[in-house]
Symmetry: D2
Subunit: 314 residues, 4 copies
Amino acid sequence: MVLGPVKLVFRSFQTRNASNVSFIGIGQMGSRMVKNLLKKGQEVKVFDVVPAAASSVPGARVCNSAAEAAKDADIVITMLPTGDDVKHTLTQKQGILEGIPKKSLFIDCSTIEPKMAQELHRISTENGVRYIDAPLSGGVTGAENGTLTFMVGGADGDLKEAEPVLNKMGAKVFKCGDIGAGQIAKLCNNLILGITMIGTCEAMNLGIKLGLDPKVLTNIVNVSTGRSWSSDTYNPVPGIMPNVPSSKGYEGGFSVPLIAKDLYLAQAAALSCGTPLLLGALAHQIYRTLILQGYGDKDFAVVYEYLKGQSKNQ
Amino acid sequence: MVLGPVKLVFRSFQTRNASNVSFIGIGQMGSRMVKNLLKKGQEVKVFDVVPAAASSVPGARVCNSAAEAAKDADIVITMLPTGDDVKHTLTQKQGILEGIPKKSLFIDCSTIEPKMAQELHRISTENGVRYIDAPLSGGVTGAENGTLTFMVGGADGDLKEAEPVLNKMGAKVFKCGDIGAGQIAKLCNNLILGITMIGTCEAMNLGIKLGLDPKVLTNIVNVSTGRSWSSDTYNPVPGIMPNVPSSKGYEGGFSVPLIAKDLYLAQAAALSCGTPLLLGALAHQIYRTLILQGYGDKDFAVVYEYLKGQSKNQ
Amino acid sequence: MVLGPVKLVFRSFQTRNASNVSFIGIGQMGSRMVKNLLKKGQEVKVFDVVPAAASSVPGARVCNSAAEAAKDADIVITMLPTGDDVKHTLTQKQGILEGIPKKSLFIDCSTIEPKMAQELHRISTENGVRYIDAPLSGGVTGAENGTLTFMVGGADGDLKEAEPVLNKMGAKVFKCGDIGAGQIAKLCNNLILGITMIGTCEAMNLGIKLGLDPKVLTNIVNVSTGRSWSSDTYNPVPGIMPNVPSSKGYEGGFSVPLIAKDLYLAQAAALSCGTPLLLGALAHQIYRTLILQGYGDKDFAVVYEYLKGQSKNQ
Amino acid sequence: MVLGPVKLVFRSFQTRNASNVSFIGIGQMGSRMVKNLLKKGQEVKVFDVVPAAASSVPGARVCNSAAEAAKDADIVITMLPTGDDVKHTLTQKQGILEGIPKKSLFIDCSTIEPKMAQELHRISTENGVRYIDAPLSGGVTGAENGTLTFMVGGADGDLKEAEPVLNKMGAKVFKCGDIGAGQIAKLCNNLILGITMIGTCEAMNLGIKLGLDPKVLTNIVNVSTGRSWSSDTYNPVPGIMPNVPSSKGYEGGFSVPLIAKDLYLAQAAALSCGTPLLLGALAHQIYRTLILQGYGDKDFAVVYEYLKGQSKNQ
């Protein structure tokens, strides 16, 4: 394959440590990402609004505020639920801006609106701080194993500086374009994912109800035009693949509310540029219906179980 | 069912010719399939309701009726637009049943309702004829190059007998299960395809409108969870891949009415077993809307152009 | 209102009885319709494939076959589940055609495909029998109270003859056009109904979750542009109106599988003329999803309860 | 809440004038609303960011800033495109808050997010100003004729004070509940409207393509369960009703971008409370698709023309 206009994938094997790295947001994802930083020899100062969370990673230096964590940092990383959380953590009293040195690099790994990424960039720049957006994919498993994929938007020099640190937590770093481009790429990818998964569930359910062997159908699809990650790597039908959530009661994996959140962000972004998302809008609603029907703590492939239904009568 | 995930694809290299093969339905697909049979040394008797079509393949022996073509045939193959066409060709006056010898094999390669396949099987059996359904994928290009994929339903012995002939026209033969299973597998695969293509178009369009480079986005998606045949083999955005319809004005390829037909058949099959197809139903309507908006002669990836829109203002 | 090209609504007050009326299909609807015929002084011969059903109406003369019921009849009425049932009852051994006198009138009140109505008309005509399609709305309550609405397609003379009999079972008779037009009108009306009901449920649910008083919201909608039969006559929120299914546990009324059937027939009709039904297709799938989620025996307004959800968490 | 189903509509015939009324936002709607205020003897000070707009209403006193207009006002009314516009006009330099006297009443007639209404209320209250939300329906025609419907949220005393002024511009005032309730009621109503209109267009198009006379079908629907404002007052098929946009080339009326905006606000509100809007989401996307297909300056009933299609082939 001929790669695009810029050299797309670049994995650095530099091992030089940024002298000071801070990490804010020590939840399911953040705690595992910090563990990998520590494992690779990178010292880390951490902060979380929940003190117990901040103290959960042995070896990390716990701080009492975002400002304290950001103090003297060369790089400050955030991993937070929403764009508003990031903005708040940046600008509030005792927030990042009160501690972070001029010219340091702020890397936001949260999944947020592309427009908010641009706003965070503006605020950072006005305060003499460099900013890149670096949302990731790979989930809790990827965070645990250090195999995350980062999709990064920002200036080339900043990406270069971020790369060694990101590579300690993940396996791939993609340069997507300017500020916000990382967020856009992630949303577009997850938009396809959310739709294709439901389509795969609908078709597998149909074939099985009509009497096909699920493994035979999967094998045909996987070498045909219906092939996708949803069928060949993360098949939603229990028992087809041994180590995916569908074969473990739809536990773990990528939860329904998380894909619903990404599809919402895609909708919001689509609104901002007048772009229709017909299947995207319906997929979004289907995931939200699932939450209301009690599937909110399951992996998103549980759409299959939902479509299979509870009763046999038509 | 005997076959499991591994033993699924079997390509025979037998070259023994069935002494007599007849082919009914000499259209865009049928004419190319017959050419490949002839090229591999298989003599073929042909019939089409349009005499000019029947005479279009040099070297084939043209007959004046389906009955005449079927006379003395070991294998009769049909490639027709609809299930009703096949039934009519089978049962009408001067139809296949009036010519075909007892115990011969009738292979229907048309894409039809699974239920109709079962009815054709019943009628054939009542008349002492063996029947299998063998719909195919690969389109005009696959027919031309002899690289079609056949999805076959029926008895093992019959499949074994069909295999050498199918292999002269295609590259893969899948055993899907009992009578009708070939049709079901094809519909399920194309259901995923029809949905995933629209999802890919929606996401590519969104990313591009938000400023991403289409090649960069494609490269990211193709190694991420949004990966599918629609993005990595048949990308709908002009200029990403050189030899796909999207890069040739959406000419050739898999036309919008054909995917619409398959999604309709999927709907009908879903109705018969009380299975919901939420995205499938909407995808079906989107393709039908495209036909009404004047895209009826384009490749189905033209959804991208449709979503891109005619005016810039929102 | 200025009425359309033909005099649309005509209610006859003629009381002359057709000497002989037969009724085939004595189910939930048929039994009540026969009772009203009897009540208005019309003698009726009845037949049902289930003998117990046929005997369930005191005063009707039970026959042992459709042919026997049709013998000597001036008018034969059918009220059956599907188009195939009607065709079978007409053409089978001991079917209507074996008994009905030439020139008698066959009135089919079943809801079936418009194309099937045309086929029944053709078969009837070939056998010297006159045919009209006269599907109805109003449900079990309308059948009980004799307030059904009939939508009739066929020749003017035949309609005129049918009218006095239909008026004994219903309150309104609409001439819709040629053969099949009654079916088409019914499907179009119920297509709007199925969509509008879901839209009303979505909006009522939204308003209530956001804190509005359901009665206040209903009152506003009912005098505004959101007004419809679904909100002002059959409100889906429990407690707004006293005597509708939503206020009685969604019992009785118009069941989910029945609206799903009508939306399916609308889809099939739309396919036949290449017309897209975007919301119609999705509405159809939503009702079918409800059946699978265990709402198959409830009134179709139960969509409100479904959307309200089982859990409170987002 | 005190109000029940009957006491809902209250139209005041008080004619006492608020001594000082100011109106900000003199566009298509605002200019007509001001004219009606003047016609009923109410003096008005006006402001618009476009000076030419502010000067367009003879008899109104033009001010140079929102602050100047608000000075000494008992009541300040805003009619602006978005919630952000209202907030800006309220809080900016030379904005309303710099001029409006303490305890005066701020009435926002714009259609905005319910949450923004609550924020505007908070800001107003913190500055000693009373606030109610009073979005309206009725469009340019209603503004012209003084027949608007206002849906009002806020404290009872404030509503009472607003009523005489609102009644000079409209025909109905609904109390919907607390702050934001006016916005919620409007969104819920327009959500039903947007869905029902498309459903009506789909069904009318289907019936007409199948051969029904559009007037006959309309007449049947309008006395049946498919009845709604979209069919009986604003029929989308040209030629059915003389004075609606569909009979005037879909000019005037309620433009596609405006219904798309309302459906977007409904989506955003639904997201905030985890409520699914399945048909609502799809309806939203359909209107946005129409904008892209070049229907952005037409009345929203133009969905009928879009579904009818450009080509006849299936």
